[in-house]
């Protein structure tokens, strides 16, 4: 009896160990990631949050000042303009970069690869479209500075002058347009691989069946291709929103926030205060506010895309 009970105990322990092995394995695998994330993401966020209540600055000294930094954010006279420009920049760059990527992928992957079977041509276009994303930002932005240079010094203005047309003051009259154009081009370029892989995964028999049923290529594009792109579009949209919200380096390189601060976004304003002025406390408060704004935006997007439902639906593996 005693022997039997000890056997049962042994079995129970073995069961528990086996269960722990099975259930604990994913946690064990996640541990390095959790440690790294905690050290490099969670801890800095906590430090930033604490810093935001101090006047810590260039002297590496600071004292607790309560909510003064937060009051200062809303007290800045140009804050309304900065926020407006930020939402314009984020909104336009997200919409056009995602639409641009979809357009490129439909042309190169769907039409050239799938419909017309011109795979090499499609691949060539896709590779060319990758160039902006592969180019380092500093080189990319200086190239555009040269292209949009003033008077007879810029490539486009030289071209206009060749036809006797007046030059355009790009960085003066179209600064936000230039910023959006260059950002959209780079972001659209980066999405091509993701979207293209999604389209390539569409089973051929699905397309063939649609054709047999008499669907035009445009109908296939809207009814089938776009539904396969739903998940990547959501992922890319979220990513681009958060990415463009934090963008400051391209602004620094292309327009330096000007003219008349017309291209100064919230992220660039943080950069100026935290880096140029070395007001680390104020910079931290601005960053906390940005984390709140981007989290709210992210949550809003998840709701719009009905993420819960999408998680339940079978989705394409890419």
């Amino acid at each position: 009896m005693e022997k039997e009970s000890s056997k049962t105990k042994k079995d129970r322990m073995a069961d528990r160990r086996a269960r722990l092995r099975v259930q604990g394995f994913p946690f064990a695998m996640m541990t390095p990631f959790l440690i790294i994330t905690s050290i490099f993401v969670v801890v800095p966020i906590i430090i930033m949050f604490i810093l935001s209540f101090t006047d810590f600055n260039f002297s590496m000294k600071g004292s607790f000042i309560g909510l003064r930094n937060y009051r200062q954010i809303f007290g800045y006279p140009g804050m309304g303009q900065i926020l407006l420009q930020t939402f314009l920049f984020v909104g336009v760059s997200v919409v056009f970069s995602v639409l641009g990527s979809i357009f490129i992928v439909i042309i190169t992957t769907f039409y050239l690869d799938i419909i017309y079977k011109r795979k090499k041509l499609g691949l060539l276009f896709r590779v060319l479209w990758l160039v902006p994303d592969l180019t380092p930002t500093i080189v990319y932005m200086f190239m555009w500075k040269f292209v949009f240079g003033a008077e007879n010094y810029g490539l486009i203005n030289k071209f206009l002058a060749f036809f006797g047309l007046p030059s355009v003051a790009w960085f003066t009259d179209y600064a936000m347009f230039l910023l959006l154009f260059t950002t959209i081009l780079k972001a659209a370029s980066g999405s091509v691989i993701l979207f293209s892989s999604a389209v390539s995964q569409i089973p051929e028999n699905v397309i063939q069946s649609a054709k047999v049923d008499g669907a035009s290529s445009l109908t296939i594009c809207f009814k089938i291709v776009l539904s396969y792109l739903r998940w990547p579009i959501m992922q890319k949209t979220l990513w681009t929103i958060l990415g463009s919200f934090c963008t400051y380096e391209s602004i620094k390189l292309l327009t330096d926030g000007g003219p008349m601060a017309k291209t100064t976004t919230y992220a660039y304003y943080i950069y100026q205060n935290a880096y140029d002025f070395q007001e680390y406390g104020y910079g931290a408060a601005l960053s906390v506010f940005m984390v709140i704004m981007s989290t709210a935006l992210g949550m809003l997007m998840l709701r719009i895309f009905k993420i819960d439902k999408q998680m339940q639906d079978p989705r394409m593996d890419i």
Partner: protein, 472 residues
């Protein structure tokens, strides 16, 4: 057992490397070793990649060794150059590591910032010693003065003034004598901004030059003209050292820039679309602009960018102190000088402080000063170098030296801790000038008064309440 041995071995290796690192750091920081009966002092000078500044200090230290040997001392000194790309990154690290270099070379913005924080010391004992008082004119010595203390010791200084394309004046019918007399009257404060505008307009209207008045395209100290030309020729500060901003001066300045565009002598997009390559590589050296608000180094910069010769530049361009707003005002020749500064590390003992002083004295030697001034387009800071044959032979530098008596540095604002960087307010007046120019011909544009009020509001926000004194 084997595992334990490996762990022990790793621990021993890790501990030994940690201690080795600590020992090395300690020897670096200590920086004084025994050499015979004397001590060997190793100092660090932190400077940007303009090697001639630290090189001058290194050479000055070598000379100190010769002097010490002649005095019978067995002490020796050595200076190492710590290349700093960005002081904003380096200074906080030095503070955290308690590893400040003894000397730094930078502009007053950084120096004053860290002086306020207590890491830069008053170098009055250097500036007020016999060598400096004898060799350097007082107004140039005072370039290191901040909040009543010599946190900086003048190293080299540029000068900012107007550069005029002489052939344009000749084409307008002027003679060489008239040009010389005009320049002299500008030095006496008799040439106004309105006079300059008129001449520039004539040059443009007659097709002599494409542009009339151009400016450097960057957001920098140039824009402190706001605080001098239209404020009677100085950067006004009160007895507490607060910067006084005259609303009327801001309006007058903005009116000047806006009028230039309306007169067709300055392109409306000058500050947004024009870049250095265009200006230094073509527009300025090739006489496409009647004049520009420039800097003494413009000669070298134009030579490098466009390939014109030194003789060509001397022949075709004249320096003019910035014209005054009203006759009788002092013409401006502002400067944003480079300064040597001594950190708290330079005062760790009496000998270190003394040797730092003597090194800085030796930097004033004529040959070193000529390298700093002539080879790198800076105003001679010692009377000896200004009067030297080599300096006098350089027509351009010699002419600019006429402005030294009324040269001044742009003041830092002492009350707002930290924000001494020109960015803090120059960003705002750069934006204000941009708006005045960009919307010059737009009937729906805001008035210069409205732009001025907005500028003042934003500058006060950036610099802190009480730091700016606004007067009407």
């Amino acid at each position: 057992m084997k595992k334990l041995s490996i762990i022990m071995l790793v621990l021993v290796l890790a501990m030994s490397s940690v201690f080795a690192g600590a020992t090395r750091e300690k020897s670096d920081v200590g920086s004084a070793g025994v050499a015979g009966d004397g001590q060997h002092y190793v100092f660090r000078i932190a400077a940007t990649d303009e090697a001639w500044r630290p090189n001058a200090i290194i050479e000055a230290a070598r000379r100190l060794n010769a002097q010490l040997a002649a005095e019978g001392s067995k002490d020796t000194v050595e200076v190492e150059w710590e290349l700093v790309d960005d002081f904003k990154n380096s200074f906080p690290l030095w503070i955290q590591e308690k590893n400040l270099p003894e000397m730094i070379a930078h502009k007053q913005s950084i120096i004053y910032k860290y002086a306020q924080a207590g890491y830069i010391v008053d170098a009055g004992y250097v500036v007020n010693d016999a060598t400096y008082t004898e060799k350097v004119p007082k107004n140039l010595r005072d370039f290191g003065l901040m909040d009543g203390k010599y946190y900086g010791i003048v190293c080299d200084t540029e000068a900012r003034f107007v550069i005029v394309y002489k052939p344009a004046l000749l084409a307008l019918g002027w003679t060489e004598d008239q040009i010389a007399a005009w320049r002299q009257s500008a030095i006496e404060g008799k040439v106004t901004t309105a006079d300059l505008q008129k001449l520039a307009k004539q040059a443009v209207d007659k097709g002599i030059t494409q542009y009339g008045i151009t400016t450097r395209p960057n957001n920098g100290a140039d824009w402190a003209f706001f605080y001098c030309t239209w404020s009677g020729g100085k950067t006004p500060q009160n007895e507490k050292g607060q910067n006084i901003v005259s609303r009327q001066a801001v309006i007058d300045a903005l009116t000047f820039y806006r009028t230039n565009v309306q007169m067709g002598i300055t392109p409306y997009n000058m500050l947004t679309d024009f870049n250095w390559d265009m200006l230094e590589g073509d527009i300025w050296p090739n006489g496409k602009s009647f004049c520009w608000y420039g800097i003494v180094a413009a000669k070298g910069d134009c030579m490098n960018a466009s390939g014109v010769s030194s003789e060509y530049f001397d022949e075709n361009f004249i320096s003019l102190p910035t014209p005054v707003h009203k006759v009788g005002d002092t013409p401006c020749c502002g400067s944003s000088p480079y300064l040597w500064a001594l950190t708290t590390a330079s005062q760790k003992d009496a000998k270190t402080a003394e040797y730092c002083r003597r090194i800085l004295d030796n930097v004033l030697d004529l040959d070193l000063q000529l390298i700093i001034s002539l080879d790198h387009a800076h105003i001679a800071i010692t009377t000896e170098s200004a009067n030297s044959e080599a300096y006098r032979a350089d027509k351009w530098m010699q002419a600019v030296n006429d402005f030294v008596p009324f040269m001044f540095k742009y003041q830092v604002s002492p009350l707002k801790e930290g924000l001494q960087d020109m960015y803090a307010d120059s960003k705002e007046y750069f934006n204000a000038v941009q708006e005045a120019m960009l919307k010059a011909n737009d009937p729906t544009a805001r008035s210069v008064e409205a732009i001025a009020d907005d500028f003042i509001k934003q500058a006060i926000f950036n610099m802190g309440e009480g730091n700016y004194v606004i007067v009407d």
